[in-house]
């Protein structure tokens, strides 16, 4: 495939967070370049001579127009003669260079694009279209038209479920391309996970921040990162630590276990964080994935705060606040034998989420206060984004009286499905409102971490609806 996507409709907010969400009623543009063949340019009697890779000379004929994209040649050229693996053109030679050549002899060259929607982690064909590159090989694919005509606005909320996912007006997309010209016989490109973006049936206004990207509306979990190996062994003390293979201990590892042998049942701090980027005054969630636990248990400690003892495999979390040394927040893992003798535990991953989020997503509503009328349905819409795939989300409702006094609050865990990222309609019902409530402040909060190391890749299986993935070889009648 000589087509390369060079830019995607993604807004990078900082090193950790990007928004792949776009308004479906604004251009959604992937741009790229066509590069037919690599080549080298040499001198042939004062004219540019283009040397193609072995066996590629059959792509050209005398009289064809080609486009050179090499060094200081960025222009079209006409082939005057062919010899060996090279051809001579009518362009005056100035310097040796290498790059690419596009063959103008490919009649009716165009790019077929199939746009797929991600439904239940599989690709379903949404629409097909044809795009044509400029003569210099650059092209842009605007998905807006294809998405728009497959979009309906039906709010299916029955106002009984807390969350209703709207896949008719939002969803994820990916695409594949095929180069076509008269007599061509090419395959479809593979789906690239990097090309996955999402849309919502929104229209943006002049001067909106982030333009047609919906970054302001995408919830993001500010995770400090995945820590791998940023720990040091604190000491063995009574009993000793070793790895089964005798190699140095790496506690944070996908494969290594810590083996802990003790003749007495005792607790021992085995590792301490060496990460200094955690700051006092900030709350963090520490999330550790434990495995291979046998006759041992582990707890996470920060200053004088400790988690409970964990003695089962899986994800364990601890919320940490100010503790530890003045400069940073140190946390440690303490392992305890539960039976005399040979014990083991593995900490596979540690991920840390910052309590204070730098990006607070907006609900899908302009900056006014809506009204909930007693006895009538009401919902608030938000984007359930890929950015919060790892975490569970809660709906927070804080109640206030007419005079502004707090009147209690309630927290409801939401059943968010991480395979269909879409606009969600969130019910705000009045069944639990305390008396005298006049205002309700609604927000979404990180509830717990569901999984770590979630893959954002998608299964490239497609449901053939009206298409079969067979190539269309003959395009001469287009």
């Amino acid at each position: 495939m000589s087509l390369q996507i060079t830019s995607r409709p993604i807004t990078q907010l900082d090193s950790n967070n990007k928004s792949r969400w776009n308004a479906a009623f604004e251009p959604i543009i992937y741009s790229g370049v066509r590069r037919d063949m690599s080549c080298n340019i040499i001198n042939n009697g004062g004219y540019v001579n283009v040397i193609l890779p072995s066996g590629a000379i059959s792509n050209v004929a005398v009289g064809d127009i080609v486009f050179l994209i090499t060094g200081n040649y960025n222009q079209s050229a006409t082939i005057t003669s062919i010899s060996g693996n090279g051809f001579t053109t009518n362009v005056t030679f100035t310097q040796i260079s290498s790059g690419y050549v596009n063959f103008g002899g490919r009649k009716n060259y165009h790019i077929a694009v199939e746009l797929y929607k991600i439904v239940n982690n599989a690709y379903v064909l949404l629409a097909e279209s044809v795009f044509r590159p400029l003569f210099n090989g650059s092209f842009s694919l605007d998905m807006k038209a294809m998405i728009k005509r497959n979009l309906t606005f039906t709010n299916d909320n029955n106002y009984t479920a807390t969350i209703t996912r709207d896949l008719t007006s939002s969803g994820g997309i990916n695409f594949r391309m095929k180069e076509m010209w008269q007599g061509s016989n090419n395959n479809w490109s593979n789906f690239q996970d990097a090309d996955v973006t999402y849309y919502s049936g929104a229209a943006k206004q002049l001067r909106d921040v982030y333009g047609s990207n919906l970054a302001a509306y995408v919830p993001m979990a500010t995770d400090v990162g995945l820590f791998n190996g940023n720990f040091r062994i604190h000491g063995a003390g009574n009993g000793f630590l070793f790895t089964k293979t005798g190699s140095p201990i790496t506690l944070i590892s996908g494969s290594n276990c810590v083996y802990y042998y003790s003749t007495v049942i005792t607790e021992k701090t085995v590792v301490k964080s060496t990460v200094t980027s955690l700051q006092r005054g900030t709350e963090y969630f520490i999330v550790a994935q434990l495995s291979n636990i046998s006759n041992a248990r582990v707890k996470i400690t920060v200053g004088s705060t400790s988690s409970i003892w964990f003695n089962t495999n899986g994800l364990k979390t601890l919320k940490i606040t100010d503790a530890g040394s003045p400069a940073s927040i140190d946390f440690s893992f303490t392992i305890e034998s539960t039976v005399n003798g040979y014990n083991q535990i593995a900490v596979k991953y540690i991920k840390i989420y910052k309590e204070e989020n730098d990006f607070k997503a907006k609900f899908l509503m302009d900056d006014y206060e809506p009204t909930l009328f007693t006895g009538y349905p009401f919902d608030l819409s938000f984007i359930h984004s890929d950015n919060i795939a790892d975490i569970k989300v809660s709906r927070i409702r804080e109640y206030f009286k007419d005079n502004g006094d707090a009147n209690g609050s309630s927290t409801t865990a939401l059943s968010t499905l991480t395979t269909n990222f879409a606009v969600n309609r969130m019910l705000v019902d009045e069944s639990t409102f305390p008396a005298l409530t006049k205002f309700i402040d609604v927000s979404l909060e990180l509830n717990a971490v569901e999984k770590v190391g979630y893959s954002k890749g998608y299964v490239a299986s497609y449901t053939a609806v009206g298409i079969s993935p067979v190539q269309n070889n003959n395009v001469s009648d287009l």
Binding site: F153, Y159, L364, D366, P370, T371, K438, I440
Partner: protein, 153 residues
């Protein structure tokens, strides 16, 4: 960790007469809700009548000179609110350019039999909203209900 802004929702716990409950799509693919109440003006318009002129050969037995082939008819409803603050004026304003406005067909029974929505159209036009020196204003707008199906030929 807060993932979103905190959205303040006003709670109106007063029971209303003559409820007309609307929901409409806003430009961000969210839905807005409002309850109009107390009083509405109902109008009814008919038009686009097509008539077939009946050739009459015998006046004594003829029933008509003209028969109706088709007619268009539909209900309109002007709803409004008095003394709204700027927030509510801005909020209700977004009905006027929404591409999908729906009226709750069963306001009394929706909680037991499920919501039944009927798509209505706001009458477009020029609406004076609020004076910049004022804090409150009235708003009214007309909803065009779906046409009545007749035996059009």
């Amino acid at each position: 960790m807060k993932l979103t802004e905190t959205k303040r929702i006003r709670y109106d716990d007063q029971c209303k007469d003559n409820p007309v409950f609307l929901r409409w799509l806003n430009t961000l693919n969210g839905w807005n809700y409002w309850l109009f109440s107390r009083n509405q003006f109902i109008s009814f318009s008919t038009g686009s009548e097509v008539v077939f002129e009946n050739p009459v050969s015998n006046l004594e037995t003829a029933e008509s000179f003209a028969e109706v082939l088709s007619v268009m008819a539909g209900k309109g409803m002007t709803v409004g609110c008095n003394g709204l603050d700027r927030n509510d004026i801005e909020f209700i304003k977004s009905i006027l350019y929404s591409i999908r406005v729906q009226w709750l067909f069963n306001p009394d029974k929706w909680s037991t039999e499920g919501c039944k929505w009927v798509t209505v159209r706001p009458q477009r036009g020029n609406f004076p909203l609020i004076e910049t020196k004022e804090e409150r204003a009235d708003i009214s707008l007309t909803l065009i209900f779906p046409e009545i199906n007749t035996q059009n030929q």
